[in-house]
Amino acid sequence: MNRSDGEDPRLALVLALADDELILGHRHSEWTGWAPHIEEDLAFSSIAQDEIAHARLLYRLAREAGLTDRDEDALALGREPHEYTNAVLCERPNGEWAYTVARQYLYDTADAVRLESLAGSSWRELADAVKVMQLEEKYHLDHARVWFERLTGGPSLTAREKFAEGLARAIGEAIELFEPLAGEALLIAEGVMERSNEELLLDWLARVGEELEAASMDYVLERHAAGVGEMVPTSSGDIAGGAEEFSAPVAVRRGGRWVHEGGFTGSGGRRGRHSEDFLPLWEEMTALYRSHPGARW
């Protein structure tokens, strides 16, 4: 299965999934020792380890399927910044706990939507890996939901406001998790993907919209719809073709449900374009590997 440029589109699919998990896992791990209390510290550190373990599963799958010569360490730590295709959402600094949890809720809801679809992939090995991941993602979603309910419905107005701010800040970039992949049409034709990213986006928006409405927080979707679409390309994410504008669809309420409006223009995270926050993360994450290539424990 090859695109016109000769590359197997399954590589783009696997790397998008794996890079999201690796980079978000790295951000999550930065809470270790700093989470609000020790029980949460353990829970969130475990979630970070799960995400990074999922990235490993997928990198290994790419190698075993012959999509790349690079092993899991080389894929995780040995690539140049523009070769990482995680969505920008995953690389953003943790900021406050409220933003971290808002992002985790949006991300893990999106992850659930795409994994449900990929569990039926015609690529058997991918479907198997996805089913392993789903066992742990259930816990991540439980964790996110419990925090969602307490921050939106608890006694603290400040907590609710901070969570709303976190959601408003994260939601535009969460939509970018569904940026179409190179070669997506081919993946769908072959049944590797059962559904397109646009269909998955619609599903996710309906799910998130419903849950935000139930918590009377859907105003964050409206607020976001007014002011997103810009993205700052930086030296860390320079890609062939230069600095064209990138924009993603926005959420709008229509016919009693939340849908998206507009399309993806330009190239975002899925084509290796990153925000100014990626390079410091990459430098820290890959420092040991770059100074001792091939070193083993």
Binding site: E39, A43, Q49, L57, K138, Y139, V146, E149, R150
Partner: protein, 119 residues
């Protein structure tokens, strides 16, 4: 924040036994947090929590296989770190060959184990 007692089963046919306590704001949060606080090293196949003054247990809904992770978590166990002394000697030798030293002194012999939490 309320304290919750945590109970676990090592094998499916065991009775629930008390394994420790956690702090959590409420029952649902306690069920989420008890899992990684007490069962992330595969200490059990089922767990439950009980609030102060309660008679019955609230059993968590996760399957036994899910506790402690479903992917490779060997790095959480000491068996994954056998041969550390040998590796340390090898590194010291390599450093010496290159005329390098690590300027941070080793902790004094006999000092008690560090109190840091394991991952």
């Amino acid at each position: 924040m309320p304290i919750w007692d945590v109970f676990g089963k090592r094998k499916p046919d065991d009775e629930f036994e008390w394994v420790g306590s956690i702090k959590a704001s409420d029952l649902e949060m306690a069920l989420v947090l008890a899992r990684e606080t007490h069962f992330r090293h595969k200490e059990g196949v089922a767990y439950a929590v009980r609030g102060h003054g309660e008679q019955g247990l609230h059993v968590a809904s996760y399957g036994g296989d899910e506790l402690g992770g479903v992917t490779d978590r060997s790095y959480r166990r000491q068996e994954a770190y056998v041969g550390v002394g040998r590796k340390h000697r090898k590194v010291s030798q390599l450093l010496a060959e290159r005329g390098l030293t690590i300027d941070r002194p080793r902790p004094p012999v006999g000092r008690s184990a560090a109190t840091s939490r394991s991952g």
